[in-house]
Subunit: 273 residues, 2 copies
Amino acid sequence: MSEFDRGIALTARGGGRYEGELGEGWRIGGGVNGGLLLAFAGHALSLAAGPHRDPVSVSGYYLSASVPGPATVDTEIVRRGGSLTTGTAVLLQDGEERLRVLATYGDLDAFEGEVRTTAQPPVMPPPEQCIGVEHAPKEMIAEAALLERFDLRLDPATVGWALGQPSKEGRIQGWFRLADGRDADPLSLLLVADALPPVTFDLGLPGWAPTVELTVHVRCRPAAGWLRVVHATRNLAGGYFEEDAEVWDADGRLVAQSRQLARAPRQWGTRRS
Amino acid sequence: MSEFDRGIALTARGGGRYEGELGEGWRIGGGVNGGLLLAFAGHALSLAAGPHRDPVSVSGYYLSASVPGPATVDTEIVRRGGSLTTGTAVLLQDGEERLRVLATYGDLDAFEGEVRTTAQPPVMPPPEQCIGVEHAPKEMIAEAALLERFDLRLDPATVGWALGQPSKEGRIQGWFRLADGRDADPLSLLLVADALPPVTFDLGLPGWAPTVELTVHVRCRPAAGWLRVVHATRNLAGGYFEEDAEVWDADGRLVAQSRQLARAPRQWGTRRS
């Protein structure tokens, strides 16, 4: 079983309740990666929403920091339609709510209509010329077991921050696949939307940037192979920033788009707790 | 009392329940404007979340078409934090769920931190040189009582679609204020994020584009005066499209950002119901 499937594995307890475990291997900073949490809860909703098993739009609101260990997801389907089903999910640990999700699911294979995408994928060197995790600062890897789950190769043009020279443009991009070779699928795209380092690193602001809210639109079942991921921010202000991500598959399809609102990393003198 | 405040007026019934009326004046196409619905439910959450009375991130999932008439909002606060409060809202009419909302509220006046916004406001002629609603095709105004609530002046460069010559760029922009002169505030920004005509008009696709999901980030209390609003799409595919909106105030602040996922307008031969 792949690491990702182990990471989101669930046992159905009936009544919309599912139980699983948040693994140590998905740790980042002081908690568990937000994308993994979204995929964990998203997996429960996928089981509850069948036959509309694919996430289409998933909004997660992060309430308290998750920790490795048992976790429960309580789901409720609020509407079953002809092509879309909407439901909610509450991810709890020890009775404390970590994440609340509101989402719409469908059958991506049934989506019909021309592809008239005008967005363009990020332009970057091939994966073998990009910078893998093994080059990351040691202190970053020590705090981020998460990085060992990924084969993430960052565009050299957007890793200046790792060498003390952030571009200040507010963009990071690279190639992504899971380290154990598992192909991407709609649920794993929920993880990928939050897999890159905080874009604020590229603004010269180190430190973790806790997610307040993350909404992912899954637009297409991803082809097998490398994904290209880019995220950027244009509105760092008032102690918060938005982080817009795009995920492109090997067929050149824009398979997922996401936006999160996050708290800016703590800077001396510029932000209250 | 302003039209907008009448449009979102609520009576508290206790237990997180609020009652009001969706007015005829907010009709568009076959239903009630999605932004007005978000502001209506958002108003209930604002009352329930106090002192965190300002929307910060609001995600609405649209389940069935609303109609003018009585409406109830049932709210539940799921977390009260030091600076942010998160809750849910269910908008019902006759026991049918129209809209479910998951949102985080705060006090925008307490947000601290430099403004390092790199995004740029839309460039367009002044309001007096833009195209007001009175120039809209008659059949559009007949179906959209909503337009009479707005003093909306569209950039001539982005109204070709109204004359049978869509630019095909997938962008519409203009100046916005409420027709009765009420200044913008954080709640009204939820309306403004969905106030422009569907961006698919500019792709040469007439017809209404029902919203599946709309998430609005309110980043700043808007200054009084004209707002500039722009929305665009880059990923029309598989029968759906995303519509990204930005709202800029008279002080040049990017006060709100939103993204919605909508169903592409029905085209002969290209989309199932």
